[in-house]
């Protein structure tokens, strides 16, 4: 066998593989983008039904009508029509935002404090408490939803946002406290010990020294607990009864569930308005993870 011959076969083989790999990747890109493109296309469609959407993800006559329908309050008639009412979408959005913010504040305060105490202090019942929290975090909290419902009823927390926030924050305590504990474990103790020797109380040390220096992890916890309630469905549906209190997840679910024929394109518009900011926050929150992914590009 001549050397040249061998090289050309090797070369053509590698070209075939290269083309083959790129075809696979392009097909995957298509599969990944198709639902997204279709949703965007549907959101800008004038007609309401799923059946009327174009199979090519591009609306036949682009229109902002669905956004108009979505953003018009439910007690008003959509402009340009005679009898089509709007939705409570803006209210749902505000509610969800409010719940997410309340949940973030409560979770950050509770879990940072708990994580710090777990990491630095010794006290009675510490071990059983920490162990039971690991067990608790594995169970979907809605297993106990009847009791949660009755307890909220008893403390007048039904159909209120604070009631829902209490449920959320409690559900996230076990996991997030362990998360914060892990972070505090890795933090050097020298500065706080110096402060304690100088006579600062544990509370003052915690607030003035620990909290500021744990900022990166607190930012992470903030993002996680902010994004958490956005698309949760079970508890809002259980707790929030009136339309004015609903969250986006419940609102969108009721918009689409079994009614794809008159609402699909409006749902698509609503989904876009949630997914875009959500994806941005989410990617910001996962930046470290994603950066490590992008940065390794050429490593073999």
């Amino acid at each position: 066998m001549s050397k040249i011959n061998k090289n050309t076969t090797a070369l053509s083989q590698s070209t075939i593989i290269k083309v083959f790999l790129n075809i696979i990747l392009l097909i995957t890109v298509f599969i990944v983008l198709y639902p997204i493109a279709f949703t965007i296309g549907a959101a800008f469609t004038r007609s309401n039904s799923l059946a009327s959407t174009s199979i090519v993800p591009w609306p036949k006559e682009p229109s902002l009508y669905q956004f108009q329908r979505l953003l018009t309050p439910s007690d008003q008639i959509v402009s340009g029509t005679t009898n089509v009412r709007g939705t409570n979408y803006i209210t749902w959005y505000k509610n969800t935002l409010k719940i997410a913010i309340m949940n973030t504040i409560l979770t950050v305060i509770l879990c940072t404090t708990t994580g710090y105490i777990f990491s630095r202090f010794k006290f009675g019942l510490k071990k059983p408490l920490m162990a039971s929290m690991i067990v608790l975090q594995l169970f979907p909290s809605f297993i106990g939803m009847i009791a949660t419902y009755v307890i909220l009823w008893r403390i007048n927390g039904l159909d209120t946002h604070w009631g829902l926030v209490l449920v959320y924050a409690t559900g996230s305590i076990p996991y997030n406290s362990w998360l914060m504990k892990g972070y505090f474990d890795s933090m050097p103790r020298s500065i706080e010990e110096a402060a304690r020797v100088d006579g600062a109380s544990p509370l003052a040390t915690y607030l003035r020294i620990i909290v500021p220096s744990a900022r990166p992890q607190i930012v992470f916890l903030t993002l996680v607990s902010f994004t958490g309630p956005w698309m949760d469905f079970i508890f809002p549906r259980l707790v929030l009864r009136s339309d004015a209190k609903k969250t986006l997840a419940v609102g969108l679910f009721e918009l689409i569930n079994g009614r794809a024929n008159d609402n699909f394109t409006m749902f698509a518009a609503g989904a876009l308005l949630v997914a875009i900011p959500f994806a941005i926050i989410f990617i910001a929150g996962q930046k470290n993870m994603l950066l490590s992914l992008a940065g390794d590009g050429l490593k073999e």
Binding site: K18, L21, N22, I24, L25, V29, V32, P35, I36, F38, L50, I55, T113, T114, Y116, I117, F123, L129, M130, V135, L136, L138, F139, P140, S141, I143, G144, M145, I146, A147, V150, I151, L166, V167, A169, T170, G171, I173, K181, D185, S201, L203, Y206, W230, M231, I234, F253, I256, A260, N261, F264, A271, A275, F282, I283, L290, L293, D296, K299, E300
Partner: protein, 459 residues
């Protein structure tokens, strides 16, 4: 104030006094008036609510504490003559009873703490041969109290919104709480022992040889839950790994572009994605079927979500779309940790890419990510969202009308349906919850033994 001679006997006397009445030892022997008063106050409150009956305004040992605990056992009495509003509500009684039970447990631990505190304080006083000054005490309290006060809010929240609900759903499994005959306030709920477990798990109905529909549905759902958890985990993992390997191949030029695209499904809330897929796959109106028919690839619409077998396949496929980016990120970061010398040595030895993958990349990555894979499996057992938002557990089967379990229902979504839809079968939902609880225990133990705290012997 000169300190008087310290009597070493207080080490014995103080705890005994505190055991007789909370705080007594602290006040009488240890000069800890504030702390003692606090403990004494707690005991007084507790005794008051045990003894005093606010309904009859009399001291007859029928206080709310006693009544609630009795209520937890009896679940109320039939009071047909009263209007519905005034009848005993078994479910309220059960939850109140549980809350009081937890308060009692906390109270008892406080009582024990109070005795130990008396002993410790007495020992300290004897050792130092004087009573601590006010400032010393204050400082000491500040040090000791910080963790307790810091932890108190989460204890209360966890007790009310996690422990009580979990205990409650455990207890309901032993009652007949179900519609239409046992829904308060019209009717009472009673303890029925293990009847519900028999209903759910016995292969035949009663003494007859007729097959039990509940058991049939349970077997099907349990099997599907396992099949689903296994395949959904494995498919996502290997799809993710496949792409992370391809994207690291130097024959692919714009890998960064591909990566950014492939991460998108991970960044969109899954609930929205699942709704969109549900509509894309709609049998008659869905664009996928319409496109395939238009292209002449199929003559009849494919029943993606309405044929039981097909729906299960579809569910796993859609789940790959949602889940593979995460596995891709995971395996990529694990691969970058493999030292490049290994590959260089392999190349010198003449190993080709496939061989390198099989004997270096795969075992190392698998070894490193196995724990996460196991936890993903556990998570998929309880993956309510994927099923509920794509198929709502459907399509229906022959026994769906009587048991509510559809072809793609997992245990967890079945529990939800039994709880939320009429006719509500809370008791059977609780039986399944207990089962899920038992299934999850090994995973909890596994994740527990993996924590750093456990390895270092801290917990």
């Amino acid at each position: 104030m000169k300190s008087t001679k310290i009597d070493p006997k207080i080490i014995k006397k103080a705890p005994i006094a505190s055991a007789c009445f909370m705080g007594l030892g602290q006040i009488v022997y240890l000069k800890q008036y504030i702390r003692g008063a606090f403990f004494a106050f707690l005991e007084a409150v507790m005794l008051f609510f045990i003894v005093f009956d606010p309904k009859n305004l009399s001291f007859n040992f029928q206080g709310p504490v006693v009544k609630s605990l009795v209520g937890l056992i009896t679940l109320g009495e039939e009071k047909r003559h009263l209007p519905v509003k005034l009848r005993d509500h078994s479910i309220f009684m059960m939850i109140t009873g549980l809350i009081v039970l937890i308060i009692c447990i906390i109270y008892i631990s406080t009582y024990i703490f109070n005795i130990r505190d008396a002993k410790k304080s007495a020992e300290r006083i004897v050792q130092k041969e004087k009573f601590p000054s006010m400032i010393e005490t204050q400082k000491f309290l500040q040090e000791k109290a910080f963790p307790y006060f810091g932890i108190l809010p989460i204890i209360i929240l966890l007790a009310f919104f996690t422990i009580v609900p979990l205990l409650f759903s455990g207890l309901v499994a032993f009652t007949n709480y179900s519609s239409p005959d046992h829904i308060p306030p019209n009717n009472l709920v009673d303890w029925v022992g293990a009847d519900n477990f028999v209903t759910m798990f016995s292969p035949t109905v009663g003494e007859s040889s007729q097959a039990n529909t509940w058991f049939g549905a349970f077997g099907r759902v349990a099997l599907w839950t396992l099949v689903w958890a296994f395949f959904s985990t494995i498919t996502c993992y290997f799809t993710g790994m496949f792409f992370s390997v391809i994207l690291q191949d130097n024959r692919v030029q714009i890998s960064k572009f591909y990566r950014i695209i492939f991460i998108l499904p991970y960044a969109i809330p899954p609930m929205l994605t699942l709704f969109v897929w549900q509509n894309l796959l709609n049998g008659t109106f869905g664009p996928i079927n319409r496109t395939l028919i238009e292209l002449g690839l199929i003559a009849e619409p494919i029943r993606w979500l309405t044929d039981p077998k097909m729906a299960r396949m579809t569910l796993i496929m859609v789940n790959i779309w949602i889940g593979f980016p995460y596995s891709m990120i995971l395996t990529t970061s694990s691969m970058t940790a493999i030292p490049s010398q290994l590959y260089e040595a392999a190349t010198i030895d003449g190993a080709n890419k496939w061989y390198q993958f099989r004997s270096i990349t795969l075992p190392l990555v698998l070894f490193q990510t196995l724990p996460l894979l196991i936890m993903q499996f556990a998570g998929n057992i309880n993956n309510f969202g994927a099923v509920f938002f794509l198929t709502s557990g459907g399509p229906t089967l022959r026994d769906t009308i009587s048991t509510q379990a559809g072809a793609t229902d997992l245990l967890i979504s079945w529990i939800y349906k039994l709880t939320y839809n009429t006719p509500n079968q809370y008791n059977l939902a609780s039986v399944l919850s207990i089962l899920v609880f038992i299934v999850m225990v090994p995973f909890a133990v596994f994740s527990f033994t993996r924590t750093k705290s456990f390895k270092e012997g801290e917990v």
